[in-house]
C-alpha cells in the first residue's frame, strides 16, 4: 500500500492508508466492539464526529480517547476494552 501506516490494535498489527482515523482502522480490523458500557454491553462508534463518546479507546496508554478524532500514526498502540 502506498503511503501506509502500521498500528497495533489489541496487539495485532493493522496496516491502513495515511489519513485514516483510529476508529476507521478498528472497524477495518473487524474488532467487534470498541468499549464496554457501564453495564458491560459492547458499544461502537455512532456519530463519527466526536459527540457521542461511544468510540472511546486507549491510545498509547491514554484512556478515553475518542478514536474518531485521532489519525493513525506509525507505531501507535491502540487498546479496545
Amino acid at each position: 500500500m502506498a503511503d501506509s501506516v502500521w498500528i497495533s490494535i489489541d496487539e495485532l498489527p493493522v496496516e491502513v492508508e495515511h489519513g485514516t482515523t483510529v476508529a476507521a482502522a478498528i472497524l477495518k480490523s473487524d474488532t467487534a466492539g470498541f468499549r464496554r458500557s457501564v453495564t458491560g454491553k459492547w458499544r461502537g462508534p455512532v456519530c463519527g464526529m466526536g459527540i457521542c463518546f461511544e468510540c472511546r479507546v486507549t491510545i498509547n496508554g491514554q484512556p478515553h480517547r475518542r478514536s474518531c478524532l485521532v489519525y493513525c500514526e506509525s507505531g501507535m498502540m491502540v487498546r479496545t476494552k
Binding site: 489519513g19 476508529a23 476507521a24 466492539g33 458500557s37 454491553k41 462508534p45
Partner: protein, 420 residues
Amino acid sequence: MTGIEREVVIVGAGPAGISAACVVAETGRSALLIDDNPSPGGQIWREQDRHGSDWQASHWLRRMHLYRVDVMSGATVIDGDPGRRAIVCETANSVSTIRYKKLILATGARELFLPFPGWTLPNVMGAGGLQALVKSGMPISGKRVVVAGSGPLLLAVGAYLKGQGARVLAIAEQASWSRLARFGLGLPKQPYKLAETWQLKRALFRVPYRAGAWVEAALGGTVLERVRLRVSHRYWEAPCDYLAVGYGLVPNIELAVSLGCQLSGGCVQVDSMQQTSVPDILCAGETTGIGGVELALMEGRIAGFSAIGDRLNAQWLFSDRERFRRFARRLQKAFTLREELRHLPSEETLVCRCEDVSYRRIAPMSGWRAAKLHTRCGMGPCQGRVCGPAAEFLFGWNCQSARPPVFPARIDSLIEHVDK
C-alpha cells in the same frame, strides 16, 4: 499555559467558519480558526473531498491557505469568559487561553439520534456518522447497509456509500410521500437544489427509496445482524452489516449558551449582522438554524464582514441569505418527525447510552432536571448531547443546560484555567 491573541477568533472550521475566516484574513487582519476535528472542513468537507470532486470544498480550502488563515486543528474550546474576551482551548497535551477582539461561533450541528430497540448495538450508527467514518478510511465495499431516518442527508449518504461500493439495501425516510410531494412541488423555485436532487437520483439508481418507513428494531447478539423496518402498515426485515440512521440535525449551541448567548427556537439568536446577544460574539452556520452548506457559507461571510465592521459588503448578501433561509424552513416542514417515532422504545430500551439508563426509568420523571438527578441520564461524558435532544422529542422536556466546561475536560485543564 500559553497566551495567544488574535483580532478575530473563529470556533469551528466548517463552511461557515472557513468562509468567515477568509473574509477577515483577506483584509490582512489576523484570524485564528479552532476546530476539534483532526483537519479543517467541518462535517461536509472531509479528507477525501479536498482533492476530489467538490469544487466548493477545494475553492474555500485553497482560499484559506492562500490568505494564510491560522488553523488550530484537534483543539476543543471548552470554556470562555466574554468579560475578559478570552476562551479556553484544550488539545491532547496542552491547554491555552486565547484572547480575541471578535469571536465568531461556527460550531455547526450534530445528528439527531432517537432510541429504538437495538440502537445501542455496535454497527448501528448515524447516517452522517457512517459517512464520516467511511470518509476517514473505514472500508465499506460490498457491505450491506440500510440508511434510515429523515431528511435530505439520507440521500447524500446513500449516494456516497453506493459510490464507495456498499450494497445499499434501502433508504427509509420517515416522512410520508404526500408530505414529500408537497415539498417537491416547491422545488422549481430552487434550481440549484433541483440540480442537486437530479444528480443524486442518478447516483441512487436502483436503490429502493421508501417514504413513510422507519426502523422498528435492530436485531443481533453482540453486534448488529438484522434490521426490521416498518413500511406504512407492513414490516420489512433483512440481514445487514451496518444500519445508518439519523433523524435530521441539532445545532451545537452548548458553547454559545455557556458564554451567555440568548437562544430562539433552540438555535442561537442573531441579528441581521450575525451578532449574538453578547457583545463581540457573532454566530454563523447551522448553530443559528439548520439550513445546509450554502446558507452556512453565506452567514459565515456576513459574520466575517460584520467582525471587521464592513456593513456595506455584508448587506449585499442579505437577500441571498433570506432565499436560503426560506428554503430551509420548507425543508424543515417537509421532514417533520411523525408521532409513531415517540413510541418506538420498549421499556428496556436505553435512552442514555453513557450511563445506560432505560426508558422505563426515565419516562416517569417530571422533567430533564429530575431525570438527571435521579437516574444520571445525561450526566455521562457526552453530557446529554445524544439523550438530551432525544428526551426533548420523546417527552417534550426542555433539555438545554450547558455549564462550563462544555466538553469533558482533563482535570489539569480545569486547574490551570482556575489558577490563571
